[in-house]
Amino acid sequence: MTLGEIANTRKAEPTASPRRNALSWGFRIGLFLVVVVVAAALISFVWTPYDVEAIDISSKLLPPSLQHLFGTDHFGRDVFSMIMTGARNSLAVALVAVGIGAGIGVPLGLLAAARKGLVSESIMRTNDLIFAFPSLLMAVMITAAFGAGAINAIVAIGIFNIPVFARVTRGAALSLWAREYILAARVAGKSALPISLQHILPNLGGLLIVQAAIQFALGVVAEAGLSYVGLGVQPPMPSWGRMLSEAQTMIGFAPWLAIFPGLAIMLLVFGFGLIGDGLNDHLDPRIRRLR
């Protein structure tokens, strides 16, 4: 081995069973946070401490206590129950939006990498066009035009995930296309489609999972933002973003109304962020070896 090669061994030994390495603490904390929220969302389908649609004016604006862990709002609804139910929205919107983005964006990215020239150019320039609009503003416009509601919010957020996935996929796929094993597959007479599906896509897996985790986090924020301005899921179904906006006027005398939904959003985004970061380190052999 030469000096240069020794320096390169960090890169040269690629995916030597990544699963054997212990996952980082950041990843575990992130996973814990996300699992807690997912569990809360699932449990809320069968049980919540109080009915989130029942109005009980006599117990309005109670501070956190043993009866009401996170207190109650101005209609006397239990904030803890509302956060549990609201988690469904946040997760569902983020999940479907990422699904739309990856489901359309990844094939487009693969196509753009495999076909140079007009196809690639038109895909990427359309991408740039979508990128040029501030995504949240466009989401507001779309929901304003087509009506507020969970479905439209999902579509609006999903559309802006497409170029993100397309661009990431194309960039990485282009570098894979230059690899020798792709050359070998071409000599074997394989055309672009089987090469993309059998060689390129599996080798992009790690990267796309990481990107999905990041987009999840952004999706949660986007959903909260849309709900905050009243364009997300509609009442009486609770949503974290709307809880925040309703709490705004009462923050002086009932701060818990803002604190708990805010914390919920923050921790879920934080959790996804940590998962994405941990997976990135974990799946990238260069970083893994340095640890």
Partner: protein, 533 residues
């Protein structure tokens, strides 16, 4: 006392010993060749001397440079020693140089780190040093950037940086491995001259025994972290008592046993007719430069059972020609024929059949395997070329057969490529090429990166396969010794054209074209020491 004294040096990384009880010395004005196969510890020895061992390494024993105890020096002290007392030259000159700094600046930088001199004096010294390594300022101004230079010229800059402060010791790790033979000969000349003029002690680390035979005064041969033999080059290469060294020397000039081609059939397996491949010229502010003609009117024929070598230096167009032959690039003029049929064929069905007949093995087998695929998947990838691809047990049997042909076990089919050594990977690559029962396999530098003993095995394997299966080979390589040992005919390529061709023995013993003569003269010769003794 010698310039460099190494006494009972032990190095281990983690719990794994990599160097065991090394004792050697090097005099001023002497060239010491450090040779061995991969994993023998030769680079680790160089790293230990230069204080560049990885952080996890543990070291015991003594390294003395004059009266300087390197083995006890701290990283801080080494920062002063490296560059001033020890110069280091690496294999890859492009990555060892900073692409955004001029060559003059890079040489002057080393000077200014170690000596308290003005910018002007440093530049003056840089100019002198570059002159000394054969880059006169008149033709190579100090404000050139590395990308303006050829590989050999870049290596000269790297050497200039290493010797600018007249170090006592120069360590060169595979300094010519990435270079063409003629450039290699020039760089080795330069080393000899520097050692003679300045009394530098040179440690030349290389896997190439011929380079050592031609350049070094003394040689140390290592195996698995230990010294197996050392002494004068002539003494070791001619009269070694060590069995390992004897095998090494034998493998280096190994000639596989094979039958010369029996010409069968009149339709060539592969033929190119006046193939031209051009790349568009570099775009300038207005218009373009003239296009670069990488392959210029090349015609060749390869018949069944024939081994043909295509040699030439880097940039001569042999790789482009190969890509065109394989149908990865389209020729702009002329045609490629496989069994007399145009290749690549327009018809999909024709194309699939022709693809089965022509296969390739690349230089770096590891790079040509999808890291996520098992060996059986890799080998079976070509099955899709069949009308009715074998499945299940039938496919398994085919894979087992082919693995057996190349000397691998059937249990290897379930493994991943990273679990194998370089030689085994090359066997798998050959198995993948063989699975479609091709008529011709192109080998693109397929044995250049292998150790001599592995190379000998692979050459034997290839010779055996060609005898048994009647497959033809096209060896595309810069390694003339491989061509000489295994081919029937050889084509010499220069600037996109075939300048000479003929029977291998004729070309090697009686080259006609001046380029071929120069190429052959530059090849380092294992018998060099003997001839001039």
């Amino acid at each position: 006392m010698s310039l460099l004294n190494i006494n009972r040096l032990n190095v281990s990384i983690g719990d794994v010993p990599v160097l065991r009880s090394l004792t050697m010395e090097l005099d001023a004005g002497e060239i010491l060749g450090l040779a061995g196969e991969s994993g023998s510890g030769k680079t680790m020895t160089a790293l230990a001397i230069a204080g560049l061992l990885p952080a996890r390494a543990k070291m015991s024993g003594d390294i003395l440079l004059d009266d300087l105890r390197l083995s006890a020096a701290s990283e801080r002290e080494f920062c002063n020693i490296r560059g001033r007392d020890i110069g280091v030259v690496f294999q890859e000159p492009m990555t060892a140089l900073n692409p955004v700094m001029t060559i003059g600046h890079q040489v002057a930088e080393t000077v200014r780190i170690h000596r308290n001199v003005s910018r002007r004096e440093a530049r003056q010294l840089a100019r002198e040093t570059l002159e000394k390594v054969g880059l006169p300022v008149a033709r190579f101004p100090l404000d050139r950037y590395p990308h303006n230079l050829s590989g050999g010229q870049r290596q000269r800059v790297a050497i200039a940086i290493a010797i600018a402060l007249k170090p006592k010791l120069l360590i060169a790790d595979e300094p010519t491995t990435a270079l063409d033979v003629t450039t290699q000969a020039e760089i080795l000349d330069l080393f000899r001259q520097l050692v003679r003029d300045d009394g530098i002690g040179l440690m030349l680390v290389t896997h190439d025994l011929a380079v050592i035979a031609q350049t070094a005064d003394r040689v140390v041969i290592m195996k698995e972290g230990e010294i197996v033999d050392q002494g004068g080059v002539l003494q070791v290469f001619q009269a070694t008592q060590q069995a390992y060294v004897k095998t090494l020397l034998k493998n280096a000039v190994h000639v596989p046993l094979r039958h010369a081609a029996r010409e069968t059939g009149t339709v060539p397996v592969l033929e190119t007719r006046h193939v031209v491949r051009e790349y568009p010229g570099v775009r300038k502010l207005f218009g373009r430069r003239a296009p670069l003609r990488a392959v210029d009117d090349v015609s060749l024929k390869i018949f069944a059972n024939e081994n043909v070598g295509l040699v030439g230096e880097s940039g001569c167009g042999k790789s482009t020609l190969l890509r065109t032959i394989l149908g990865l690039d389209q020729a702009q003029a002329g045609e490629v024929l496989v069994f007399g049929r145009a290749f690549p064929a327009d018809d999909r069905e024709d194309m699939r059949q022709l693809r089965q007949r022509i296969q390739v093995v690349f230089q770096d087998p590891f790079g040509t395997f999808d890291p996520r695929w098992r060996v059986e998947q890799l080998i079976a990838e070509n099955f899709h070329l069949y009308d009715s691809p074998p499945t299940g047990a039938q496919a398994r049997r085919r894979i087992d057969e082919i693995l057996d042909q190349v000397g691998m076990k059937s249990t290897d089919a379930k493994q991943y490529p990273h679990e194998f050594s370089g030689g085994q990977r090359q066997r798998i690559a050959i198995a993948r090429a063989l699975i479609t029962e091709p008529a011709i396999i192109a080998l693109d530098e397929a044995v250049s990166a292998l150790d001599v003993s592995i190379r000998a095995q692979i050459l034997d394997l290839l010779a055996g396969l060609s005898d048994r299966l009647g497959v033809s080979y096209l060896f595309v390589t810069h390694d003339l010794s491989v061509v000489r040992s295994i081919t029937d005919r050889v084509l010499v390529m220069k600037r996109g054209r075939i300048v000479e061709q003929g029977r291998t023995e004729d070309v090697f013993s009686n080259p006609q074209h001046p380029y071929t003569i120069g190429l052959l003269a530059a090849v380092p010769d294992l018998d060099f020491a003997r001839k001039f003794a």
